[in-house]
């Protein structure tokens, strides 16, 4: 199991044990992390699972692909460390990953 931490917009921490292969979005929904809506269910077809990847993790998580970058156009206050959490797959090297939930989804 891989440990993930979500920091909600109000500062609340959610520590979660995630299975490798699942997505950061799925684990947020399963654990009722507030502020992750995931309207399209993980098809990379909306931008309502937007998160900010902690700077220390940005390079390890990697850059969004072109389709995700396109979807991010619809998100609110997009930053260089913005990602759609449905497009981040949990893997061993992400153990300890920290992501922040934005003030609002698009």
């Amino acid at each position: 199991m891989t440990k993930l931490t979500y920091i909600a917009h109000d500062g609340t921490h959610f520590d979660v044990e995630a299975e490798n292969g699942s997505t950061v979005m799925e684990n947020a929904i399963r654990n009722a992390v507030p502020g992750i809506e995931a309207e399209c269910g993980g098809a990379c077809a909306c931008a309502t699972c937007h998160v900010y990847v902690d700077e220390a993790w940005k390079d390890i998580v990697g850059e969004p692909e072109a389709m995700e970058e396109d979807m991010l156009d619809f998100a609110y206050d997009v930053q260089p460390n913005s990602r759609l959490s449905c497009q981040i797959r949990v893997r061993d090297e992400l153990d300890g990953l920290v992501v922040r939930v934005p003030e609002r989804q698009g």
């Binding site: 098809a43 077809a45 970058e69 991010l72 156009d73 206050d77 997009v78």
Partner: protein, 341 residues
């Protein structure tokens, strides 16, 4: 006045489940008319993920979403369904004889003996962009679509977005606008490269201004916009504008269905699992928009629901007529309807 269109069954939504309902209803000799807010059949399959493979359609180990829509259209074709696209059913009322009158957002009128709501996640509507305080300007200075280009003549226009809608309207409105600014958060566009090149050419000749950034606030009074704050790579800039056209894609909303007097449960329509009928007799709901104990939002569940709904719809349209259960593999009369015999 275009007159009233009459049909046996009016299907709200032309997604996969609505299309398969045409087939099941057609086998029972019921004529269907489908209304959809999109400009083509397929619903979410066509709009959101046409090229993505679906792996849980029985008999199709893998089929693209658009491929499934094409096959469903082919399957429904023998029953010659009628389609009205780019329309939302805005009102539904029951007539004295128990049938229904439906009106679209463009005031076309339909009459049907049965209504089937196959509206999936709701109707696709322009997404409100994530700009704080935008609501008071909507309909006066902020518009999500261009119905009449003339309404924008002589205005200082701000267009936001990087897709085809944003670029097309930038190019189309540029000649009649007083000034035009396009704002997009990055230099890459989703729009067709040809439109992007045309836009850059107009920027070169100072016929428009393109700025990289995100709109973070609006300025104005009483719904009259005077400017927008754009957060760009070099900090905030204020852009003077009297009209804002944001193009942030589509989202799904239940829309006017909420006002049709049906029982709702968290934006879903509760139905029974024998007929998939709503709280209103003669109005059925199938596919992702309905709910019942054990409901799974799968296309295959919607297909099953369509088949059972059709039996109940037949009893309403042809009361007293005996329904003979038949298989398409062996029934010569069904095969005749399908045009295969």
């Amino acid at each position: 006045m275009s007159g009233i269109t009459k049909t046996d069954v009016l299907i709200v939504g032309a997604g996969p489940v609505g299309l398969f309902a045409v087939f099941e209803l057609g086998l029972l000799d019921l004529k269907c008319h489908l209304i959809d807010i999109l400009d083509r059949p397929g619903g979410q399959c066509a709009e959101l993920y046409p090229e993505k493979p679906i792996y849980d359609i029985p008999g199709w180990p893998s089929i693209s979403a658009q491929g499934l829509v094409d096959k469903l259209m082919e399957q429904a074709a023998p029953f010659k369904p009628d389609f009205t696209f780019n329309r939302m059913v805005s009102a539904l009322e029951r007539r004295e004889d128990g049938s229904f009158r439906l009106t679209t957002d463009e005031n076309e009128v339909f009459e049907a003996k049965v209504v089937v709501i196959a509206a999936g996640g709701g109707s696709f509507q322009p997404k409100r962009p994530p700009i704080p305080g935008i609501e008071p300007y909507e309909g006066t200075s902020v518009f999500y679509l261009v119905r009449r280009m003339e309404d924008f003549r002589g205005h200082d226009l701000l267009i936001v977005g990087g897709g085809d809608s944003a670029l097309d309207w930038t190019l189309n409105l540029q000649p009649i606008a007083k000034s035009i600014t396009l704002v997009h958060r990055r230099p890459e566009f989703r729009a067709a490269p040809d439109s992007v090149n045309k836009m850059y050419a107009l920027q070169e000749t100072k016929h428009l201004d393109f700025q990289i950034g995100q709109v973070s606030g609006l300025k104005g009074t009483d719904g009259q916009l005077s400017g927008a704050i754009v957060k760009g790579p070099d900090g905030d800039v204020e852009i003077a504008c009297t009209r804002l056209l944001p193009f942030f894609g589509l989202t799904m909303k239940l829309g006017p269905i909420a006002d049709w007097g049906l029982n709702l449960d968290e934006n879903l329509i509760p139905v029974d699992t024998e007929k998939f009928e709503t709280s209103e007799p003669g109005i059925f709901a199938i596919g992702d928009i309905n709910t019942y104990p054990g409901k799974l939002k799968l296309i295959l569940s919607g297909f099953h629901e369509a088949a059972l709904m059709a039996q109940a719809a037949k009893r309403i349209v042809s009361p007293g007529e005996r329904i003979v259960f038949q298989y398409t593999t062996s029934s010569s009369s069904l095969q005749k309807k399908l045009g295969v015999n």
